[in-house]
């Protein structure tokens, strides 16, 4: 039979027992709706997370570290350090990275632990340096006070929990925390004294032997420097309303300095001790460097180029890759749950069609007697199953989309009442629409397989005798 004829006959047959077939179709559409709802929730969550990551400003950043840092000594012995592999992350490397195509900004990650004095009380903390470009980062959204006035200004931004510590206001666990505004008033513009170890170039004072070069002479080789204890006055410019745990990468610190100032201070860092035996020049050595890319889509190329230079790199691209893995698992999970209803609905199709065979037994017999082949009968039942599948799929997608809209709307009302900005965490992409309809059709045809086969095998003599 030709396809238009088949479709026409199938639709006619479906119309004949309208109520039963409509109910079956509703069953399929509920199944599809649940599948669409589940998967669009997954997609929406992924999109929301991606948007968040992008806004964090880390999407366009490659973190570079020396390979020596991350590998265990034993592994290095085995592979043997090639010149490229054991490269030192120094000023020369930084300049080289700055000249790579598509690179916007290269800045060293300066992080050190030191003592800050506030009103003569010492506080030990982790300090990190930030470039001025970090101002656009969403971490500074809820900040009190202002960002650094210049790259070398003697100013600090302190993190909320450190501010509590400075004021001696750390609340006991479970108590409500004081608001940033409360903390800002007594602190903004106040002075802090930072004590730190300065690395003084070419000094002839005590040379510091690296802890790792046991088998080398302790005579100074190449560059040497002295360590001097210094103090620096700093003004509190801003209070940051974020937990240090929620900050990322080099920003995991409680106090922030402008990058230019931090570089000028030549603070002694741990990496200095490690790299002293290797650095050919007297230039400072960095434990890690952040490379910002002009366009997030170029990040792969930049990352590869830096890897070729002999450094270890990490970018959010890697993180988002593993994130995609997580979402794939989540999709499978949501998909399985969503499909359950569809599978139940498919049993409805089998039921409906088997009933139809019983009802139309005589009709099948007549069709066979006047020349219908087994294939014709089979295709007819198949077409009926498929038609219910397509109709159920389309209605289901609309239903699923509507459910999503309602939930989106409802949740955003709730978020608004909690003064959280609204989020769009429900997305029905086009591929999902196509997939859902296709899947509904596929499931329906699979369900039609058994009834269609049974109808085709019907013995016409028996069927015609049946009243």
């Amino acid at each position: 039979m030709k396809i238009p004829d088949l479709t026409e006959l199938a639709l006619r047959n479906l119309r004949e027992s309208l109520l039963r077939n409509s109910l079956t179709t509703v069953g399929i559409s509920v199944g599809v709706a649940s599948l669409v709802a589940m998967l669009s929730l997954g997609t929406g969550l992924q999109q929301m997370l991606s948007r968040r990551l992008e806004k964090s400003g880390l999407f366009d950043t490659v973190f570079v570290s020396s390979r020596r840092d991350l590998r265990s000594g034993r592994q290095e012995e085995r592979s043997g350090p090639t010149p490229g592999e054991s490269r030192v992350l120094d000023e020369a490397a930084r300049v080289e990275m700055e000249h790579l195509p598509n690179v916007k900004e290269v800045f060293p990650d300066i992080r050190f632990s030191t003592e800050l004095q506030f009103e003569d009380k010492p506080h030990l903390t982790m300090i990190s340096a930030l470039p001025l470009s970090a101002k656009s980062n969403d971490s500074f959204d809820g900040m009190q006070g202002s960002f650094f006035s210049s790259d070398t200004a003697p100013e600090v931004i302190v993190q909320k929990s450190f501010a509590e510590e400075l004021l001696g206001k750390t609340p006991p666990l479970g108590q409500p925390e004081p608001s940033v505004g409360e903390l800002a008033k007594p602190l903004l513009g106040k002075e802090l004294i930072m004590r730190y170890a300065q690395r003084a170039e070419g000094g002839d004072q005590t040379t510091v032997p690296g802890p790792e070069n046991d088998n080398k002479e302790s005579e100074p080789v190449g560059g040497s420097y002295s360590v001097v204890s210094r103090e620096q006055k700093l003004t509190i410019a801003g209070i940051l309303d974020l937990d240090p745990e929620s900050l990322r990468g080099p920003m995991r610190a409680r106090v922030f300095l402008p990058l230019g100032l931090a570089e000028n201070l030549h603070v002694m860092q741990l990496v200095d001790l490690r790299e002293i035996t290797r650095a050919a020049s007297e230039q400072p050595v960095y434990s890690s460097i952040s490379v910002r890319v002009k366009d997030p889509s170029r990040i792969q190329g930049v990352e590869d180029a830096i890897k070729k230079m002999g450094f270890t790199t990490f970018s959010i691209l890697d993180a988002s890759r593993s994130l995609q893995q997580v979402f794939r698992v989540l999709y499978a999970f949501l998909g399985i749950f969503g499909s359950l209803a569809l599978i139940v609905a498919s049993i409805g199709i089998v039921n409906t069609l088997v009933m139809a065979i019983l009802e139309r037994r005589r009709e099948i017999g007549i069709m066979k007697a006047i020349g219908a082949s087994d294939g014709d009968v089979k295709k007819l039942f198949f077409a009926e199953a498929g038609a219910m599948g397509i109709a159920g799929g389309i209605i289901g997608v609309v239903l699923g989309w509507a459910i999503g809209q309602v939930i989106n709307f409802g949740t955003n009302i709730y978020l608004k009442s909690q003064s959280i900005p609204p989020e769009h965490f429900w997305a029905v992409p086009l591929w999902l629409v196509a997939f859902a309809i296709g899947f509904a059709c596929f499931v329906s045809l699979i369900s039609g397989l058994y009834p269609a086969g049974r109808a085709a095998k019907l013995d016409p003599v028996q069927a015609l005798r049946y009243e």
Partner: protein
Amino acid sequence: MTTAPTIPAALGTVAIRSENLCRHYRMGESVIRAVDGVSLEIRSGEFVALLGSSGSGKSSMLNLIAGLDRPTSGSVVVQERDLAKLSREELAKYRLHVVGMVFQSFNLIPSMTVTENVELPLRFAEVDRGRRDSLARESLERVGLKARMGHRPSELSGGEQQRAALARALINRPQLLLADEPTGNLDSHTGTEIMDMVRDFNRELGMTVVMVTHERALAERYARRMIFLADGKLVDERDNDLSPGSGTERGHA
């Protein structure tokens, strides 16, 4: 083995030949011999009546000729096709192109209009819609049912339904018309109308007609030859003299 319709052969060539044809059913322990070793020959253009009481095997015989059923043993050859050797697919094509069937209970599909019922075989034959329409109209015109084209079978009288069934049997221009008690559900007047039509098909279109009936009078009036079956066996065969003007042709009212 061709399945395409061919021009009806001239009277005299063998249209149907069965040799020691058997159809046995198993019913629990016992075996029912519905058709039990029937050998017969029907020539092209013949009008043959299969007579017998109920359970004599005449309907089973007709189903075997129609290709609706397969013999247990023996052979039935229709227009040089050995039906026992055809595949299910080939048998369906044989039923579609070679055989036209009418039944006692008309067997029209109730959800379809008369036209749709009549053109249904053409759908299976994958004939274009335009050609289908004209053939259905032509066929319905032939049985005098043109005014009822858009009606459903339930809106027709018994005679009209059987005429629609005849139109459907006719539409593929088969060489063989098989009728299973075609007047069984009709009053005698309507039955005569239907039988006259069948005879016209036999004479004007050259169709070979095999009719199953238990009414001897009907067979004597229309069939050239009567074959008697009892207990699945062929018990008697008799020719009928149907010379024009013998008086038995035009029916009694």
